[in-house]
Amino acid sequence: MGETAEKIEADILVIGGGPAGCWAAWNAAANGASVVLIDKGYVGTSGATAAGNTTTIYTRRGTAERAATVGQRVRLGHGFTEAERVERVLDRTLENLDLLAKWGYDFPSYEDGRPYRGMLRGPDYLRFMRQKLIKARVKVIDHCPVEQLLVSDGAVAGAVARFRRSGETLEIRSGAVVIATGGCAFLSGALGTHNLTGDGYLMAAEAGAVLSGMEFSAQYGISPAYSSVTKGVVYFWGTFSDEQGNVLTAPGDRQSVVASELIRGPVYAILDKASPRLQEGFRRGQPNIFVPFDRMGIDPFKERFPITLRHEGTVRGTGGLKIDHRSTTTVPGLFAAGDAATRQGMSGASTGGGGPNSSWAMATGSWAGEDAASYVRSLGANWRAREARTTNQRKTPSSPPSSDDLNSVVAQTKQQILPLDGGYFRNQESLSKASSILSDLWDDEAWRSGDRAKVREAEALIATSRWATESALLRKESRGLQRRTDFPDPNPLLARSIDSGGTDDIWASFQPQQKMSAAS
């Protein structure tokens, strides 16, 4: 574990300062707990929301609008969406959005003057939350990735982090820990995902936590070919074409049509179906969509531009740490929220992009903060005296550090997950091959001697890839984001979730039939 330069203590440690972590920290503090919020990057700019902007869902239970959203979720969930869970998430989202308005967040209005609360601009929203947390006496620590959890007698008791700049470690002892480290996008270059390498999954799994729904992580977002900006919403008003200009009209969802064609050659898009009124709406709402176009001198509403698909993994896909009906994981003292938690009960086998995800982050973050606070109260004052041990028992090898080795391990891991042929469309052969390569990479010790922070990220990437691959191997059917070319149809008998876990010995298994809100 190296030298511990600094030790601190708090009732609750929240790891990750995206929306899920911010709401967890605020609710924990509001329930009387002392709170440390720690981030690998900077609370306010790090993570998918900060860079992305998010549509969110502002609807009231019992209205037609709410029914439309819930109905859509159930339909797209392919058998996994629990309607009542969606209702509860959206109830809490409405409450939180109203709270933001009460706090003075400068929401826009419709042209008729009614307030519009369905959009949160990432950097504005998170900067606002950061200020709110500091006022609520939450201790915010930036640029300090957490590397592993501490446990005491089977319960989580804190974590060890390392400052990015000094390389010194920081030990945080706490009564409970909230994992809000976001999803894993496998370093695909999708917008805002560079810090999202699955670290929270790995540290939780080392402490014995279980994951779920990892086979539903093959979510890809469209971006201009040269750009990071995977803002998919504009493409609903787009036309796709191949190199020669032939319009792509094959049946199926637009993403799969683009994916199939990209395997053959370049694909282009033009946003020719957006009315001038909508064009203005996009420009005045989502400036980040247009930065790449404006700086390249392209008018996307009038000219074709090349596009690509970038992996968004569990950031917009489904899998993550298994939780109960709120945010409690399978390990005492450990809570999970946002993309770090499995979203299967909300988005089922599909992406929750475009509203559900940001709502999920708000609601589960809030629940995690509240439930962590009551858990710590139930521990009494005794948690401070607990003996704690680290959960990553692996020794750093003594071989000379080589960044070449480390870079090559990361590149090989990405190669098993990112390509459309194998990642987007998978089959027994591609998945088995990936499984054995990933297992060899994990078992190899030599590359682990390099920079600690980068080694931990690489380990998290490999572990996350392995849970996703083993779960995808087990699910011999196609359903939502799981697209098996050898089993192209859904199998009604397999409408059951797959749990996974382990680090040295990876496992995945079907769970007993659960109550579903709709058949697939």
Partner: protein
């Protein structure tokens, strides 16, 4: 990727050093920050929002170097363009009230 820290415009406040989520910059005493880890840049443009003097330029190319010069970029009017469109000023958010994103949903093409 981040390509330019303008020596002329930079007032050495080091806000970008802190605000960059990927720890791309290093602060330099009495000088403009340097781009120390360019390959870690995630092309999120957010450092531009925090810069009070529009001294930073993030190229839209996320995997290649654009190589434009500061003079070209100033002539094209793109230094600080993202900050202006977002309505930020002096590292402070302003401008969410003018968001017209509701138009995305008014035709019923998509449901959030």
């Amino acid at each position: 990727m981040i390509e330019i820290v303008s020596e002329d415009r930079c007032v050495k406040c080091d806000l970008c050093v802190d605000a960059c989520p990927d720890n791309v910059f290093d602060a330099v005493p009495d000088s403009a920050p340097v781009i120390a880890r360019q390959s870690d840049c995630q092309t999120c443009f957010l450092c531009e929002l925090f810069c009070p003097t529009d001294a930073l330029y993030v190229s839209p190319l996320s995997e290649a170097i654009e190589g434009s010069t500061e003079t070209d970029l100033i002539a094209k009017g793109v230094m600080g363009s993202f900050r202006r469109e977002m309505g930020w000023k002096n590292a402070k958010p302003r401008g969410t009230a003018g968001d017209m994103s509701y138009r995305i949903f008014e035709t019923g093409t998509i449901t959030p």
